[in-house]
């Protein structure tokens, strides 16, 4: 008789920290990280008619201490190193797995928070737990090592964010300024210079990476548009503590149909431009999607695009 047990609330107290006044970031981690994010997914399994000798060899070869026995995706049991030692001691190593596997298993579900896994390891003395999905299919195995790794990685990210948040203060004296850059037609050598300078400036001033990324995307696309499509022009970046306004002016020949130019994938670039990796028809749509405010006017005399990126908006989310 095979029986899987899932135990929900009973063991929650066995997490080694309290859940009422521990730091929110830590509690969030142990509830937000799901078992499926931490578990090992590339499983080595064997079918029930495999012999214990085959399993012994597999364990040796793959350096494993326990192997799930399955029928397709369905977990039937586990053979551990202890089972193999027993088999060697008592001389039944040639028997098939199904005769001797541990069938009374404790399992976890992949959608459970990692706190469940932590409490399971505390409560039961197993070294690993099989993980099933909603359809009761075997999708992974979780060990203490998996938990340590995933917690460490997520803690690292969370603490880095906290540190960034703390150190982020805008220096108003530094930021109030205007920078302008001349952009020449078909000058692929210098293309990207304005964007790089603006990015470096924002980085030096200490803005969060996500805001810098948005500014860099807007600026680069506008700069490349001038290089690729116009007779030349300029990029003007106006910094204030609240926002960055990027203005791209060119000397023509203008965009025939602005609405078309704003459509994803629409481009007038020729083969040569495309061979350089430009002309995906994503330029203006990219600018629009990263801008908080966006405007475009175009005539034969030239095109003017203004992209505004709010530097202080939803800083908590951006950090």
């Amino acid at each position: 008789m095979i029986s899987f047990r899932l135990c929900y609330t009973k063991f929650m107290q066995t997490i080694p920290i309290n859940t009422y006044n521990s730091p929110a970031v830590v509690l969030e981690l142990i509830y937000q990280i799901k078992i499926k994010d931490a578990m090992t997914k590339n499983l080595i399994t064997v079918e029930e008619n495999a012999s214990l000798r085959e399993i012994q060899n597999l364990m040796k070869e793959k350096m494993l201490t326990g192997i799930p026995i399955v029928n397709g995706k369905h977990l039937l049991g586990i053979i551990s190193v202890d089972d193999i030692i027993q088999a060697l001691d008592f001389g039944y190593i040639k028997d098939v797995a199904s005769q001797h596997m541990t069938k009374n298993l404790i399992v976890l579900e992949d959608d459970m928070p990692i706190s469940f896994a932590i409490s399971y390891f505390d409560r039961f003395k197993f070294h690993r737990f099989p993980v099933l999905n909603k359809n009761k299919e075997l999708v992974g195995m979780i060990t203490n090592r998996d938990i340590t790794n995933s917690l460490l990685m997520e803690l690292n990210k969370a603490v880095a964010n906290l540190e960034k948040k703390q150190s982020f203060k805008i220096d108003k004296k530094i930021i109030n300024q205007v920078q302008s850059f001349t952009v020449k037609k078909h000058d692929f050598e210098e293309a990207g210079y304005a964007s790089t300078q603006i990015k470096k400036f924002l980085k030096k001033t200490g803005f969060p990476a996500k805001i810098i990324r948005r500014a860099a995307i807007a600026c680069y696309e506008l700069e490349m548009n001038i290089v690729v499509h116009s007779e030349g022009g300029e990029i003007i970046a106006e910094f204030s503590p609240e926002e960055l306004v990027i203005t791209a002016n060119d000397c023509g020949p203008g965009i025939k149909d602005v609405n078309l130019a704003l459509q994803k994938g629409w481009s007038t670039a020729d083969e040569w431009i495309r061979s350089l990796g430009f002309g995906a028809g994503m330029g203006l749509p990219n600018v629009q999607s990263v801008s908080d405010d966006f405007s475009i006017t175009s005539s034969k005399e030239g095109t003017c695009v203004v992209s505004t990126i709010k530097l202080t908006k939803q800083l908590d989310e951006e950090v």
Partner: protein, 112 residues
């Protein structure tokens, strides 16, 4: 954790320029159109492409791509290597096509 150095160890991948070998790689994007890369590649990623020129490094630097993998035996021109050195971006060259390279890096990222 996947580092630039580990990607460099892939068999048949030649390191044309080493940026920061200890940089962490957390995702990967495959594409040859730079605006598409610009809009979709994530920070701390690897870029798999055939665009062997300087502008690829500009895009990489702006979006935080740490390693550029040039496929189909394309090689990096000197000005591309120079730009990559300044920006700390690693360049790898391989005879693999983009599909094979994506497949191999997905495996390194534990996505398979």
């Amino acid at each position: 954790m996947l580092t630039v150095e580990k990607v460099c160890e892939l068999k048949g991948y030649k390191c044309a320029l080493m940026g920061n070998s200890e940089d962490e790689i957390t995702s990967c994007y495959t594409g040859d159109l730079l605006s598409d890369v610009m809009g979709n590649a994530e920070e701390n990623s690897a870029l798999i492409t055939i665009q062997a020129h300087k502008n690829t490094i500009a895009v990489a630097s702006l979006v935080g791509i740490r390693v550029v993998v040039l496929c189909n035996g394309r090689t990096s021109p000197d000005d591309m290597k120079k730009a990559a050195k300044e920006e700390g971006v690693t360049i790898l060259e391989t005879k693999d096509n983009q599909f094979s390279a994506s497949w191999k890096i997905a495996e390194l990222l534990g996505l398979k």
